[in-house]
Symmetry: C2
């Protein structure tokens, strides 16, 4: 027995401890073979004079046994890395482990080499631990060793690999676009990189490869894709990362249906290959207005009903002045959802919760009705629902006694928002959402199309692009009220999540210039920022459109995870810190001087003693 924690290989040779099999490989067909395994000591126990060790690697776990005199001679412990050589034997009858693919056999060790010692790990190398995320991120080298994390990374790799192949199968060409580039127009804050060669100038990290992919279409590449790293220096919510990965693509000579079909083929192929799930295609298609009117959301969860119902026809029957007043306002709507069985399933206390939620979202209050056995019933608007009024209402809602009707009246965006949120809350409370992520029924994809072209930005008092300024309008003559213009933008939605968005682009230089004008971008500014795109559009641009899907989210959803941090090898915290390697960090003044910047403002003092303040 040797202890070889040093490295004594002759160059170019094989290691003497080189494995013949992985720890996930041995079956009863191997019984009688002599094998060498390499792995981590996952656990060990002494039992009847035999020492049992679970040896773990990425591929699985194998039980190995050491006679006592062998285990006595070599010191090793949990998480040490060892190589063992021995004979594969059948486990004693009754001791087979059906949970473990290698559970029928064990290896009787003749030789054990310690390859690496290990300190005691900061938390258990096992699934389902309840360690604070900060501790896990700080010791990511241990955290990723846990089988569920290893599985997540492997699933991600397989998922993205399958996506690439599916795009390649459709003649898409992967092109790498620059990371050191110019400020892009997505509207979020750019990460900046000072230039050493050009004093006072800066690169920006791309928020997306949007302009580059359009340029590639102008170049005739016809079908582009890229697994692209994107960067946004935004205040992070728990589930956002400063850098993220998207499957970015663009196609020439297409309209919406062509883009949708390309993606449906890809998703069907990936789900089949990676998870053995046969997705039904084509996916559902809804206009943005339909999504809002039926689900109160532009990313509707279609796994359950509880649809919104418009009550404009019913309101006059009800005689309820408040509703009549709401309807009379500009874009005034009265809508409701009917929660089946909500009459009893939603308690009085839960009604209070729903009411506070509605108020948080901007509603004055929450009107509700629990229809009674023969008309009437309970709730603040019950008296407007008596007789014909109630019968008409229930017919419209497809509801009846025992249900709960939740009303909202007001400007339509408010009504959508409130009822959309209550719809989701009630579905959760009533457990209407199918659980699971392994079958086709767990995935309700939909394309949402025809988004508004512009959003009014209260802060700047101006219109801004709802998607981005290169999105084609539905009506290229731009007739009518600017705020009412619709665009050829679309989203792909899954179970209430927006997986990605895209659009048919403007390929006409003059139309692009008019859109810049509508956005209040002067011709000079347009030239300075996007001159090269305008030039490209003037050089013979094909009609084109594309789409980008955030990969972190879809990978997490297909693992049944709500958060994205467990599908990213080295994520950052909400303060954009890498706790493992300690980034960002101070840098010496000399290094800053080389790129012609100095710390300013708070940055200057924050440095304090660590580095002397830089002279400007």
């Amino acid at each position: 027995m040797t202890t070889d924690s040093t490295q004594t290989l002759a160059t170019g040779s094989r290691a003497s401890w080189r494995r013949t099999h992985t720890c996930g490989e041995l079956r009863s067909s191997h019984i009688g073979s002599t094998v060498t395994l390499n792995g981590w000591v996952a656990g060990r126990r002494d039992h009847g004079g035999i020492y049992f060790v679970d040896l773990r690697d990425r591929y699985g776990m194998t039980q190995v046994t050491l006679a006592t005199e062998l285990s006595d001679r070599t010191q090793f412990s949990t998480e040490w890395v060892v190589a063992i050589t021995g004979e594969v034997v059948a486990r004693e009858s009754g001791n087979a482990n059906a949970e473990l693919p290698t559970g029928e056999v064990e290896v009787r060790v003749k030789e054990l080499v310690v390859l690496s010692q290990a300190t005691v790990p900061p938390f258990e190398v096992d699934d389902g631990i309840e360690t604070a995320v900060e501790i896990r991120l700080r010791h990511r080298h241990v955290d990723l060793r846990r089988p569920e994390m290893t599985r997540n990374l492997i699933h991600r790799s397989r998922f993205i690999g399958a996506m690439r192949r599916a795009f390649e199968a459709q003649d898409f060409v992967e092109v790498e676009t620059p990371i050191l580039t110019k400020a892009t127009p997505e509207g979020a804050r750019d990460y900046l990189v000072p230039s050493r060669v050009h004093p006072g100038e800066f690169y920006a990290l791309p928020q997306s490869p949007q302009i580059f992919k359009q340029i590639l279409m102008v170049s005739g590449l016809d079908r582009y894709f890229q697994v692209a790293r994107c960067f946004r220096d935004e205040d992070l919510r728990a589930d956002r990362q400063p850098e993220f990965t998207q499957l970015d693509m663009e196609m020439s000579f297409v309209a919406e249906d062509d883009v949708f079909e390309a993606w449906e083929k890809v998703m069907a192929s990936v789900f089949d290959e990676v998870m053995g799930i046969q997705l039904a295609t084509p996916f559902a298609r809804l206009t943005w207005r339909e999504a809002m009117d039926r689900f109160g959301s532009d990313k509707p969860d279609l796994r359950y009903g509880l649809e919104l119902v418009d009550l404009a026809q019913w309101v006059p029957l009800s005689g309820f002045k408040v509703f009549e007043g709401a309807l009379a306002e500009k874009n005034g709507r009265v809508m409701a959802i009917c929660v089946p069985g909500g009459g009893s399933a939603i308690s009085r206390g839960q009604m209070k919760t729903l009411e506070s939620r509605a108020k948080e979202l901007g509603a004055q209050g929450l009107a509700w009705w629990k229809p009674g056995e023969s008309g009437g019933g309970a709730g603040p608007v019950a008296r407007f629902c008596e007789g014909d009024s109630g019968a008409d209402l229930l017919a419209r809602l497809g509801g009846g006694e025992g249900d709960l009707v939740l009303f909202c009246a007001g400007e339509q965006r408010l009504v959508w928002k409130v009822l959309g949120a209550l719809r989701t809350d009630c579905a959760r409370r009533l457990e209407l959402i199918p659980k699971g992520h392994t079958a086709a029924e767990h995935y309700c994809f939909a394309w949402v199309v025809d988004f508004p072209m512009y959003e009014w930005d209260e802060e700047t008092g101006a219109f801004m692009s709802a998607h981005h300024p290169f999105t084609a309008p539905v009506d290229p003559t731009l007739a009518g009220d600017q705020g009412e213009l619709m665009s050829r933008a679309y989203d792909l939605v899954l179970n209430g999540w927006e997986l990605g968005s895209g659009s048919i682009r403007i390929h006409d230089q003059k139309l692009q210039a008019r859109i810049f004008d509508q956005l209040g971008i002067s011709p000079q500014e347009a030239r300075a920022k996007f001159g090269f795109l305008l030039d490209a559009l003037g050089s013979g641009a094909p009609p084109h459109g594309g789409f980008a899907m955030g990969l972190d989210r879809v990978v997490a959803l297909t693992l049944g995870l709500e958060g994205i941090r467990d599908v990213i090898a080295f994520p950052k915290t909400t303060s954009a810190t890498d706790l493992m390697c300690g980034a960002p960090s101070p840098v010496p003044d000399r290094q800053l001087a080389e790129v012609h910047v100095a710390r300013a403002g708070r940055g200057r003092t924050a440095e304090g003693g660590a580095a002397s303040p830089a002279g400007a």
Copy 2:
């Protein structure tokens, strides 16, 4: 006939001009079909009352014909984007174009829609143009439209795609590592990104994912790869880019041979799949010393001979004091190459060129000998080569009358450098290098192993890692002279180019600490910079090693290109400028203030009127 340069599609519908075929698709089997093609007008000519138009897309070129009254009605020109619908007909006998896959047919146009107009392109959209690279980069949207550039991008995509599949086939997992990270130890200058959330702190863009991939091995991922973007803020030579792409990989429980075999499988599979070339494996393997002694280079071009020959045994026979003196020095060597037929093939003028080259490289002069018919011969050292001396020399060199012998004497690194360079120069001059890139014989791969561990840095007066500080030493006891230590680093070499490098890493925490010490890195500094790696090595690290290959170079070489700029979609100039989008560029003070930096030094004044100087 319609002119539709606007966009009038109903959302979700198909475009009326949607192509039925690409411009590379039609054959005589399509004769009689009615087809729609979309593409760029590559050329047009009027011939006998018929208007001939070459329509181009990524997939090829198709000839279409318009009757005069049709062409008269619609104005269009070169590089305009059009859709045509018409009948596929056979070309008139004698007019078939065998050069063109679609050359047997043409399309008789019934309907033509202009999709986009175009300005006159700044240079011809054709192969083999002689336009200045700056013009091409500035108008990259037109440059990439040229068929050879489109072909390059497609080849790159296929090559990298095939590499991924070959790694995936060997159970490698692709993991994305961060771009916003901490300063890495490769020794080149980092690109910095100021943090908004952490005033005065900075991210660095990675020079390689080195530490992350080692962490992944400690995490038990076993086999990692990534097509990784890397960044180095160095003064650029014509053929370097500030950001570049490498195929980065790492494996656990391996020695050198395992890494080499994994790569040989990948390269053989990629060359077969992408180019139909059957590479012979295993590749040649040379130690660094053998490469230097035989080829005077650590990246030898093995496509031809002209090997260096050591003359230590011969020198005493020659009686040449200068050579005897050189041999007596520390690491003194006398070596030569014999250029077959060089006696007549290398003219007196060319000898002068070789001599200047040798002097440029540090030699005192160039000793040479053209052996005569019966001993003697010409050249400054001819008189030391008479009789037995000459016969012995020619026997060692395997040369004879009509050849040219070039000598070099001095410290061995000088001798290697000079003769290595002359070897290449002579091979070029004598056209010994096989031309082409389409057959196995055009590719001479070799692994060079056992590099020196350290290089002496004259500037700092200290040893630095020849590869990087995580490279395992051949002798882990570190016995002997530090400058003489050899490492387990290796390069893959192709035709005189270094395609990439790698090493078996240190997996022992204590050994890593000793190497930091040898590099003059104090324990405090090591902890600050690489603490998380040391922690990881102490947590149970498997023996591991890896490799990274620069993809720009290998893609260029497999296209027969010397430069890498034509295989990068959007490259930067030698001053790290993106001429198309104009990056880097000035940014408003407000944006700098947000990330707590100010312009300093030259940067401040360079900005001048464009933006007011920022207060520090």
